[in-house]
Structure formats: C-alpha cells, structure tokens
C-alpha cells in the first residue's frame, strides 16, 4: 500500500477529534439520559409505547431528559428494556417497562430520586447504592466481545462509535501489511461463525494470494434459521463494528468491493446498515483512498428474498448475480471462483464483527478465550422453555448445563428438561445425557448436532421429539431449492414418514427406513442444506428412539402431544356435580351431562383442542389427557340430555 503510517494516523486522529466534538455537543451530561432498546425485538415487545409514555410524561411534568435509542442488549425476557442514567446515580437497568412503568420512572426516579427498587434489575456498574447486574449470572457469566456495545450505544450515531474506540482497528490495520493482518487472525484461531467453523484467516489468505485483479468480500446476513436473530440484532445494535471488521478483512484479502447480503424481511437492519454505510462514506472511512492509505473500498447492500438456501454461500452468490438461488457444486470454492467467478471471501456477520476486537487486542488475547480448538465466544439466541431467553455471548467451552441452568435460569414451571435443539434445521436435538457437552464446534458435531449459526431451542418434558423432527423437516422440505434429487424428493419422503408416525399410522420398519434414507440424503446431497437436513431426524432417533417406537408400536405419544394419538376425558372422581364451566368452552358442543350430573366428553365428536382443560376450575382439574386414546374409560350419558 502506498500510504505512509504517519499520514494514516493523522487522518484518523482528525476524524476522531471531530467525532468526539460532535458527540459531546449532541449530548448534555447535566440532564438524565434515558436509553431505550429499540431493535426489532424491543419494538415487538412494546418499546415504542414505552418511549411515547416517557416523552409524554417528560413533557407533562416539564422534566428535562435525553431520550436515546439504542440497540438490543440481549435480555429479551426483560424487554422492553430501559436504562436510565440519572446524574448522582449509577445507570440503572429497568425491565419489562410498560407505559405505566415509564410514567413512574419519570415521576418517581427523575423527579423525586426514588430509583424504584421493585422495578429495577440492577445497576450497570459497581456502586454502593444499588446492586450491580453483574451479580446476576445472566450478566456476570457472559463474556461479551461482539456484543459488548450492543444496547449501550446509539447504532445510528457514528460519532459515538468512533468516540468509544471505533474504527481504531481499521486505522491500525491500514498501517500494517496485509500479511500481518492475516497472521494476526491466524494466531487468534478465529473460526467462521456461520456454521461450519472454517478458519477465517484461510479464506483471506487464499483470496490475498490470488493474482486476480478483481476480488470481493461478502458478508452473509441471510440468517434463515427459524427463531434465530443474532445477526439481525448485531446489525441493528452495532452496525459500524461489522463495517469495520469487513473493511479490515477486505484490506487483508485485497478486495475492493464488498456486499452485505441482508434478508429483505429485516427492514430495520437494512435501514440501519444503509445509514451506517452512508455515514462512513461521508466521514471518508469508506470509499477512495481511505485514511490516505491508498486502500479503496466500497460496500453495497443486497437485499435477499429470504430463502433459507440463499444463506448457503454458493447459492447466495448465484442470487447476487441475479440468478435463481441454487447452490453450485464445490469445488471450486468461492475463494477461487466466487462472485462473477472472481476470488471472494464470504463470512458471517459475527465472524466479521469479531475482527475489530482481535486487531485491537491481538490474536493472542483472543486465542486465550474459549477452548483451544474453538477460541473466542459463541453467540446464541436461546429460546423455548427457558427462563431468561434472549441473546447470550459466552466463552466457547461452557457446558450446555451451565448455559441453560446457571446463565439462563433453567426451565420454567418446575418442568424437567428434555432436549436442546441446537443449530436450527441443520442441527440436532441433544438429550439430558448430553447436558455436560461443552459448547464448541467439535464437541457439538461429535454429539450429532452442530454449532450452526446459533439458534438454540430449549424443550421441556412436554415436547414430543417425533413432532420436533417433523417441524424441522417441514421447514427444510419447503426450503429445499429443488435442484438435487436427495434433498428435493428425499426430504419430502422423510416428512411423509414422520407424518404417518405422528398420525398413528406408523409402519413396522419405519424407524429403520428413516435412518437409511436420512443417511443417504446426508451423504448424497449436493449442498449443505441437504447434507444437514436429516440431522434433526437422526439425532432424535439416536437419543429418543423409544419415543418413535411408542408411536409406531403402541400408537402412544409419550408426551401427549400428537393429537391423533391422544384423547381427553373427564375424571368423574374429580368433576364437581352441577358445575358446567367446561360446557361453553367446547367449540363443537361435545360435552354432555352424565347420570350423576357430572360431565363427560363425546369421543366421536371431540376435536382435542384442549379448551376444556383450561376452562375446568383449578380446584377440580378434572380433565385428563391420555395416550393412546383407547385408555379413555367409557362414560354413560344421562338419557334426556341427548
């Protein structure tokens, strides 16, 4: 590169000085600051209502405060989240902030100095007044690298990002050689966070080493796993960190053009990343001759159509080229023939977002976090039957048990843990016996699941594992691009077999047939979608074979989930004479009165919706669910009630 290191330093300190000045002018530290989590998840939980209530109350009571939008802090169970930085107090984290609570915060805390102990989760820093959130395992046991600033900064304010250390790694990288940066990434041991865990430095090196004039870098933000939303949140909460990481990677690989492939269904993420790109361009951190280094780089957004398979790198490239999103055979890999047949680095949002920290603190620092073969942190969206759901960032190597029970508060309602689905539709279900598996690329693959891009669903005792496999197969079957035989037709047959099992029509030999077909699909498919689609079936058979067998041999669903295999009846010993709470709840009028003026269910008519279970007063709890259906006792009707 042509730039002189002194020039780069000067250019950056000039930008930084301006950013600090502009930021300081935009905030007034004498009045309280109210930070509201306004990422997609916060909005869905009611953050906009909370904001409206806060603004109205401030206005009404004539109280001065800055209301600042921030991204998501990851604590979805607590949303809407509001952090109040009131001079004289530490910043305080309030959870589930409804419109009512919002008013209270203004009236009690801002006006009267009462921090409302019953509504706060804790203070964001150590202090003598209020217990810190760090004492709370969901905060204290996490290790935040990528998500460090998420929920703490305004994602739309480039000045704040720069003031708080942003773009320093870019300035540093530009003053080094490309080989230096690749080497630093190699030392860090960073592996791709998009699923397969491929060493990040190898892709950069391969593209750097190619003599092609045109080279590209693509950020994969397709995030198609149902229920996963890490990448969206990271973009919505700290977009500049991603841009910075992408620029450093582009510099190292020698790419002059970058594309961020975001799914169209993420309008807020698209808007925020677009603004971030505009702001960086305006501040000359992007574009021609960045920081006088001689390195030029441009980033475009590509809005994907939201097909799951478009997350697969070769299908993604086809889609950017304007073709139907269907995978190509590999090799050649994108680093050899990628976008427009030119060498292309393609990385996940999290992979690229990790790079600034590695460059700032050194590869050695990063390699000391996590495990030897999987250094760094893992980011998961953990949902389902778990108390503190949301986004977590933990050091690799933490066990599943620690994650679920210590960090995320365990299973709600005193229910027992049954399985953890990890890695989305390509991943697998791990049983209780796997709770002590460390979370890292290799251990998870060995257990039959995979890291995937970070979706985790916790399931309690009420989940039927055949039904879970069916759910994921339904997804992959519909998302198959239709190109290759195994995936296009094979996943359809897997689903058909699962459907007949859950309908009570399972045939002898179906489990073996599933295993055989699933194995063939895994080995025979063209791309990663087909190669991993059978994992939910294979792992549920591996760990929960008895459930499959109960469905097939005794037409019994052990978790009482599969409708055709269950039935409801009213226990006459528990039913209260004369009570008819359930009668009106039944949508098909199938509850009758018995000889003893209690209630019964007409099995011929019942649609098994379960409404009567909810309607039956808690003190009786008389509606019983059984499987198989023939366990229902015969209950006689009162003649005239017919």
């Amino acid at each position: 590169m042509s730039g002189n290191n002194e020039d780069i330093k000067n250019a950056f300190s000039e930008i930084k000085k301006n950013a600090e000045k502009n930021f300081n002018e935009s905030r007034n530290s004498d009045i309280p600051a109210i930070y509201i989590g306004m990422a997609t998840c916060g909005r869905a939980a009611g953050a906009e209502e909370a904001e409206r209530a806060i603004l109205e109350t401030l206005d009404e009571r004539n109280v001065k405060a800055d209301v600042i939008h921030v991204g998501c802090i990851g604590h979805c169970y607590a949303e809407p989240v509001v952090i109040v930085d009131n001079p004289g107090f530490p910043p305080i984290f309030y959870y589930n902030v409804t419109a009512g609570k919002s008013k209270l915060i203004v009236k009690a805390f801002l006006e009267r100095g009462d921090p409302l102990y019953e509504h706060l989760l804790g203070a964001m820093e150590e202090n003598e007044l209020i217990p810190s959130v760090m004492g709370f395992p969901r905060f204290g046991m996490e290790k935040r690298i990528v998500m460090e600033k998420c929920g703490h900064i305004d994602p739309e304010d480039i000045n704040e990002y720069i003031k708080k250390g942003g773009y320093a790694s870019l300035a540093f990288a530009l003053s080094k050689t490309q080989a230096d940066i690749i080497d630093e990434i190699r030392i860090s041991g960073l592996r791709g966070r998009g699923g397969a865990g491929f060493p990040a430095w190898k892709k950069m090196e391969a593209v750097y080493g190619s003599d092609s004039k045109e080279k590209y870098i693509i950020c994969n933000a397709d995030e198609g796993d149902p229920g996963a939303y890490m990448d969206r949140t990271i973009i919505e909460s700290n977009p500049h960190q991603l841009l910075e990481g992408m620029m450093v990677a582009a510099f190292a690989a020698g790419a002059s053009k970058g594309i961020i492939y975001v799914r169209h269904e993420y309008p807020l993420a698209v808007k925020i990343i677009k603004k971030a790109i505009d702001d960086s361009n305006r501040m000359k951190l992007l574009g021609e001759n960045i920081l006088n280094s001689g390195f030029s780089f441009h980033i475009d957004i590509f809005e994907g159509s939201g097909a799951f398979v478009c997350g697969e790198e070769t299908a993604l490239i086809e889609s950017v080229e304007g073709k139907r999103g269907m995978p190509r055979t590999r090799p050649p890999y994108p680093v050899e023939r990628g976008l427009k047949n030119k060498p292309t680095v393609i990385n996940n949002v999290k992979t690229l977002s990790t790079i600034p920290a590695i460059v700032n603190k050194g590869g050695k620092w990063f390699s000391g976090i996590g495990t030897k073969s999987s250094p760094g942190t893992a980011i998961f969206s953990i949902v389902g039957n778990v108390v503190h759901a949301g986004l977590v960032e933990i050091p690799m190597g933490v066990t599943i048990r620690t994650l679920i029970y210590d960090i995320c508060g365990g299973i709600p309602g005193g229910k027992a843990f049954k399985a953890l689905q990890i890695g989305g539709p390509s991943g697998g279900c791990l049983p209780e016996s796997a709770l002590d598996t460390p979370i890292d690329f290799d251990s998870l693959t060995e257990a039959g699941a995979m890291m995937g891009s970070g979706g985790m669903v916790v399931m309690d005792e009420d989940s039927c594992m055949v039904d879970v496999a069916k759910y994921f197969l339904e997804f992959t079957k519909n998302e198959s691009c239709g190109k290759c035989t195994f995936c296009r037709i094979g996943t359809g047959h897997l689903l058909t077999i699962l459907e007949r099992i859950t309908n009570g029509e399972g045939r002898e030999g179906d489990v073996e047939l599933l295993e055989r077909l699933a194995g063939d699909i895994k080995r025979g498919s063209l791309c990663g979608l087909g190669k991993t689609a059978p994992n939910p079936v294979l792992t549920t058979i591996r760990y929960f074979r008895h459930e499959y067998e109960a469905h097939i041999h005794s037409k019994r669903c052990p978790s009482l989930k599969c409708r055709p295999l269950t039935a409801f009846y009213i226990d006459l010993g528990k039913c209260a004479r004369g009570c008819d709470a359930c009668v009106g709840s039944c949508p098909v009028d199938c509850i009758f009165t018995t000889k003893g003026r209690k209630k019964g269910i007409d099995q011929e008519v019942c649609v098994k919706c379960g409404e009567c279970v909810t309607a039956c007063p808690e003190e009786y709890n008389a509606v019983i669910k059984v499987s198989p259906p023939h366990l229902v006792p015969h209950i006689e009707k009162l003649e005239e009630s017919k």
């Binding site: 139907r324 079957k477 190109k483 035989t485 296009r488 359809g492 077909l517 080995r523």
Partner: protein, 219 residues
C-alpha cells in the same frame, strides 16, 4: 495422457477431462441423468453418477471429477450402489410410469438405469408422490411435471442455443419444475422453429402440441 484404473481395468484418458465422460466413452456403465457432454459447469443434480475414488472417503459424483493420472476408481461398491438405488427410487417416486404411452420408451434412460442397478422400475419402499402445480400455457409446448425428472437438460440447451433461456426452473422443493415464464407471445419466442428442449428431454415431459396430438391419436 493419464492412466486411470476403473474397476481394475486400465484406461488411457486425457488428464483434466470429466471422469464420467471418459468412463461412458469406454463403455463403462455409470447411471446418470443430468450429465451433458462438454458442459463446463455440470449441474450435478441427479446424484446418480457416484463412484468411489481411492483416497476420498465418501462416494463422489463422477460428473464433477476431473481425470488425474493414477486415479483408482470403483463404480459398483456397496456404498455407491446404495446411494444410486435410493436416488433412483426417489426419482421414480415422482415419475409417473406409463411406458405403454411414452414416446421415450425406446431410448428410456430410466429403464437403462434400472438394468445397471438390477432393480425394478419402481420406487419400491417409497410411496409415490403426486406433484401438483398449476399448468402454464405456452403457444407450442406442453409440460407434464408428473413425468419430469428435473434433469435440467432442456434449460441448458435452450440457453445454449438462444443465448438466454426461454424456459427455466421455478418454484421450490418438491414442486420444482419447468416454467415458461409466462412467455405466451408466439411471435417473440423462438420455440416455433426450435424443438431442442423436447428433443433433449429424456422422458418426454416436454412435448410440442403436434407431437402431443399424434400421441393422442395413437392411443
């Protein structure tokens, strides 16, 4: 020149050529449906042409492998046959078998493959799947998805001859099939004078109207 060994037979072949192509030329039977000669970027979608190559753990599709000197290839190992039989049965589970009325029956690739694999022309353990899609109109062509095996040869040849494809794959998953893109205007499309797609289709899933009416008359 490279020397390779296929099922213990020594074969001379040009280095860099496609393994499947070389084997087929030498009369070695490897099932295949989507392979097209001289196509640099094979679609590798039918998943039938598997072989085992020494040094590679899992079976690989021979249409995507280039010949290398000293390569040792097995075309009929148990693993290869297992994958091929499954792929073949899956294809048959979506292919309406109606050989009596099929114009392709004399050159039918499916029948040939069933002989190579020594299996019945039937999906056997898999229940047939009926694919339901809305029929599209076209001034010249009729497309029957219940016969289509999704080999992609028609799309390839159309693009090769006309520089762009007037037919293409549409929809997802099991419903994936050929679409005419709503190309209804007989004047603006070359189909009236070209019949390449119907000619290349191995299973008569694409037919021209006149051909189709001949067929009806015969029945």
């Amino acid at each position: 020149m490279a020397v390779i060994f296929v099922d213990n037979v020594e074969i001379d072949a040009e280095e860099g050529r496609t393994l499947l192509e070389v084997c087929l030329e030498k009369g070695i039977a490897i099932p295949n449906l989507c392979f097209i000669k001289h196509n640099d970027s094979p679609s590798a979608s039918c998943r039938l042409c598997f072989v085992e190559i020494e040094g590679i753990e899992e079976p690989v599709t021979s249409c995507t492998v280039k010949v290398k000197d000293g390569m040792v290839v097995t075309t009929d190992s148990a693993e290869v046959r297992e994958l091929q039989k499954t792929a073949f049965r899956l294809i048959l589970s979506t292919h309406r078998i109606d050989c009596g009325n099929c114009p392709s029956r004399k050159r039918c690739e499916l029948i040939k493959i069933s002989r190579i694999l020594k299996v019945k022309l039937s999906p056997e353990i898999y229940d047939p799947i009926e694919r339901k899609v809305k029929a599209e109109e076209h001034p010249h062509l009729i497309y029957d998805i219940s016969k289509c095996i999704n080999c992609g040869k028609c799309v390839y040849i159309c693009k090769k001859l006309h520089g762009r494809s007037y037919i293409t794959f549409a929809r997802r998953g099991i419903e994936t099939g050929i679409s005419f893109f709503g190309e209804k205007d007989a004047e603006s499309i070359p189909c009236g004078k070209c019949r390449a797609c119907a000619d290349i289709c191995p299973v008569s899933a694409l037919l021209f109207y006149e051909h189709y009416s001949d067929l009806l008359k015969k029945q």
